[in-house]
């Protein structure tokens, strides 16, 4: 390999690899996002240009909607960060089994359809007397924020937690030796180094809350409207594509502006970190206890209500609803169990795609040409902040002719899921890749490793953790995806579990409702186990990297 022939081959390989690294994500984004979204915006606004935009801004209602959309998403992000950061600290210090278990469990809310979560929260409110009176939560903005924290807790815990566990703890120890208290150490030493991961996590939480649909309608009460719900109202209820496209364009601009801010924060280079040689001191028991208590109340109480409802049969309890999952009811084209297995197939395909595209994107964002970095970073995050209606309807009118007549192909469903999953892979990998000590990479290069070998032997093992965390998210996102899926026409055989669950809740009757709850619980169990399995695949010793 060190002869001239070997050098030459590796240079050609490097060139090809560079093209692939840039080309695959670019083609994926162009075909499945830019072209469809462009097509639907053109269809809506083409003739009139930006005329409808000025009409929109002139309306007080739209200004109110934009303001509410932005501030509720900001508030959701800040609250989620504050609530979940201690748990991220906990997860970063736990080792082995417990760490995988907790990281798996916090991911559970991700797959729950909002109609189920909203029902569970209403149940919690009812049980604790929060449905009316002075401390009323239902149909308030607080219910929206609470649900957003519930859904997004995992984003902060997993992204920040995994990054945190790779930080060299010597600095903190030195600070403590020099007399700093724990809080001062955290503010002055730990927090600045966590900033890239926090920015990454916040960007995702923000976008998720920004485009939230079910939570706003179901928990916020009938008066609330965000850009996402307005786009739906205009496009579907009113059939006014022009206004819907204007709103979609507005949403796109808002998201672009906000991602630009987030990436600027994230890009400030953290202090590079070497290999962590030994685990930090264990945390205080009180801190650990408070964390677990928080998780139990916040994540546990709605989930407990779901489990209870899934087991309630008549006046007693039993597993009848779980057994019923294998039998087809008229409301579903196949049994709920079949829908679950369809969902698993889709989630596997979507995860593989998101992982491929996301990993390549992350490398381009960190090591690519300067001009490409910003574009890739923005572009591959954008789908997360785009309305499901825009993406679904866009695919419908754009991918309708050979060779890409995909609008009724079952492939389009995992592809749509991968669009939403990719930003998670990118956002978890970028901060991890960035902090790899250039000295390690330079040392490897000086010792004769080709750039490809550096990437394979240095970058990938260290970034692997970020990759797996991202893969877990992509899998969970696909299992729980409802919006984009429901806007794509489907064969009955490709009904996914969240859609099946929604169908079960569309006809009255205790048996159907019970089965829906059982399906939700099985979905939760599957995602927890899958995430644990995906992350444990890597083994625990690698955590020290």
């Amino acid at each position: 390999m060190d002869g001239p022939v070997g050098r030459n081959r590796s240079r050609i390989g490097g060139l090809a690899a560079r093209w692939v690294a840039v080309g695959v994500p670019a083609v994926f984004l162009a075909v499945f996002f830019v072209y469809p979204v462009g097509a639907i915006l053109w269809r809506g606004l083409g003739e009139e240009g930006l005329g409808p935009m000025s009409d929109l801004f002139a309306s007080a209602r739209t200004r109110g909607v934009v303001w509410f959309t932005v501030w509720q998403a900001l508030a959701s992000t800040v609250i989620t960060l504050v609530v979940a950061l201690p748990a991220a600290a906990l997860v970063s210090r736990l080792r082995g089994r417990y760490r995988h278990l907790i990281r798996g469990l916090v991911t559970v809310p991700f797959v729950l359809p909002t109609v189920v979560v909203a029902g569970a929260f209403e149940g919690v409110f009812f049980r604790f007397g929060l449905d009316q009176g002075d401390f009323r939560l239902r149909h308030t903005v607080w219910a929206i924020l609470l649900a957003h924290v519930f859904f997004n807790y995992a984003v902060v815990v997993r992204i920040v937690g995994s990054f945190w566990s790779g930080l060299d703890h010597h600095l903190e120890e030195q600070a403590r030796v020099l007399g700093a208290g724990p809080i001062q150490t955290f503010w002055a030493v730990t927090l600045p180094r966590l900033r890239p991961a926090i920015a990454s996590a916040c960007a995702i939480v923000f976008l998720f809350s920004f485009t939230s649909f079910g939570v706003i309608l179901l928990l916020g009460g009938p008066r609330r409207a965000t850009l996402e719900t307005e786009i739906y109202r205009q496009a579907v209820t009113r059939g006014d594509l022009r206004s819907a496209a204007a709103l979609a364009l507005l949403q796109l601009f808002a998201v672009l502006a906000l991602i630009a801010v987030a990436t600027r924060l994230e890009r400030r280079r953290p202090a590079p970190t070497g290999v962590v040689h030994r685990p930090p001191q264990p945390m205080r028991r009180a801190f650990r206890g408070a964390n677990l208590a928080m998780m139990t109340v916040l994540l546990g109480s709605p989930i407990a209500i779901l489990v209870e409802r899934s087991l309630a049969v008549g006046d007693g309890y039993g597993f009848d609803h779980y057994r019923a999952l294998t039998e087809r009811v008229p409301q579903l084209p196949a049994s709920a169990a079949t829908a679950l297995s369809t969902s698993l197939v889709f989630a596997t395909a979507a995860t593989a795609m998101a992982l491929t595209v996301g990993t390549l994107t992350a490398f381009v964002v960190v090591h690519g040409r300067l001009s490409l970095r910003r574009i890739f970073d923005l572009g591959l995050t954008l789908p997360l902040g785009t309305s499901a209606v825009t993406i679904g309807f866009g695919i419908l009118i754009a991918l309708d002719e050979p060779p890409l007549d995909l609008r009724t192909s079952w492939w389009i469903i995992p592809i749509a899921h991968a669009l939403v999953g990719t930003p998670f892979v990118v956002r978890t990998m970028v901060p991890v890749l960035r902090r790899i000590d250039p000295q390690i990479r330079e040392a490897a290069a000086v010792l004769g490793a080709s750039p490809g070998r550096v990437r394979r032997l240095v970058d990938l093992p260290i970034a692997g953790r970020g990759m797996l965390v991202g893969a877990g998210f992509a899998f969970a996102v696909s299992l729980g995806e409802f919006g984009a899926t429901s806007f794509l026409p489907r064969r009955p055989e490709t009904l996914t579990a969240p859609l099946a669950l929604f169908r079960l809740l569309s006809t009255p009757g205790e048996l159907l409702r019970g089965q829906a709850m059982a399906l939700a619980v099985v979905l939760m169990a599957i995602v927890a186990l899958s995430v644990v399995a995906i992350e444990a695949a890597r083994g625990t010793e690698q955590d020290f990297l």
Binding site: A21, V313, L404, G514
Partner: protein, 380 residues
């Protein structure tokens, strides 16, 4: 250091994967994931498969000797027994692929977006609240099915037969009989009486199909609907975004505390069929004077390459095989007078004698204005 140099082995795997995905995606249209309607694995098919005759007739319509498969575009609530469409395939040789496109509003929007290059050959499920929108968009080819002779005239809303009525359902106030604070209400005006304060939950007509239907019921059924809703608001009406959170959230059925909800006339039989322990009488009743009638239609989509096959499917939808299968699968009523209602429907489902009705053209013309006004009055 700023340019990506990747190792070939890593990249080869990744690019191979993406290529497979793209190829699979581009060719994936014919992949039938677990297709259940293949004629070869149908097992027993009802007797008289017409292999001998050159032309097949369903209701007087002539089909090509080698008919093509067609696609039925419909909403997510569409459901039938497994054997029903198989019977159609056995009788005609036409295979039907289903394509489900979300709720009715989403389906209609998608059909309008794809007009000219339609997603399917036949669309089923547009109702009278969306009918005018689809007719204005010229989505359908006119077709007068001979089987329309079995359908009462009140269901035929389009004189040009661009759409064919298939089923109907009534959206009505349901009440939980044991929880009502007084005798059941008998008129819409009763709902504003003080004894029913804080008892009713309705859906927002901007986000919910039954919500819109009930708003239309009040427009047709009260002297001054704006005053009626102002009175309802004073009487503590609750509003939710959709049917699910009304029925399972606010209504007694799901653990809520309200005894009246906007639902369907077919909800009481569903409560019996899906009760966790067998019951003889439904726990809920229906206020028949509050019912808005929703009729669902099917039509041949303009631009179809298989008009004869599409028309054959429309004919089939009005035969007893299809019509009899509708109630227990979709919880709606058949329109054909040749259909037989299942026993549980006969016993527990009520059909309003004099349902409330608004002309589809009026609905399309005034819908936004009415819902805007409703929002002002009720949500303030």
């Amino acid at each position: 250091m700023t340019r990506p140099h990747f190792s070939v082995s890593l990249i080869a795997g990744l690019i191979g994967f993406i290529v497979i995905v793209l190829i699979g995606a581009a060719c994936g249209n014919d992949d039938n994931v677990g297709d259940t309607s293949s004629p070869t694995d149908m097992g027993e098919t009802p007797g008289d498969a017409p292999a001998s005759s050159q032309y097949v007739t369903t209701g007087g319509n002539e089909l090509p000797a080698d008919p093509s498969g067609i696609t039925l575009l419909t909403h997510d609530s569409f459901a039938l027994s497994d054997e029903t469409l198989a019977t159609f395939t056995a009788q005609t040789g036409i295979e039907v692929t289903l394509l489900q496109a979300g709720d009715t509003g989403t389906m209609v929007s998608e059909a309008i977006l794809t007009a000219g290059n339609p997603l399917g050959d036949v669309m089923f499920g547009v109702d009278n609240t969306f009918l005018a929108r689809t007719l204005n968009a010229e989505l359908f080819e006119p077709y007068e099915s001979p089987n329309l002779a079995d359908v009462p005239d009140i269901f035929k809303l389009d004189p040009q037969n661009r759409v064919t009525p298939i089923d109907f359902g009534d959206v009505c106030i349901n009440y939980w009989t044991d929880a009502l604070p007084a005798d059941p209400p008998t008129t819409l005006e009763d709902l504003t009486a003080p004894e029913f304060a804080d008892q009713l939950v309705v859906q927002n007509p901007e986000t919910s199909s039954p919500g819109l239907a009930f708003l239309l019921a009040t427009i047709a059924g009260t002297d001054d609907w704006e005053q009626f809703w102002a009175d309802l608001a004073d009487n503590g009406v609750a509003v939710t975004a959709g049917w699910e959170d009304a029925y399972y959230g606010e209504f007694i059925s799901g653990g809520g505390d309200r005894s009246m909800v906007v639902s369907y006339a077919s909800s009481p039989p569903a409560e019996v069929i899906y009760a966790s322990s067998p019951i003889d009488t439904p726990p809920t009743g229906v206020l028949l004077d509050s019912c808005f009638r929703q009729i669902e239609f099917a039509g041949v989509l303009s631009g179809t390459d298989h008009p004869a096959e599409a028309q054959a499917l429309i004919d089939f939808m009005l035969t007893p095989t299809f019509q009899d299968d509708v109630p227990l699968n979709m919880f709606v009523f058949p329109v054909a007078n040749t259909a037989t209602l299942p026993q549980v429907f006969g016993e527990h489902a009520q059909i309003a004698d004099d349902p409330l009705f608004v002309d589809p053209a009026d609905i399309e013309a005034h819908r936004d204005e009415w819902t805007d006004r409703w929002v002002e009055i009720v949500l303030g």
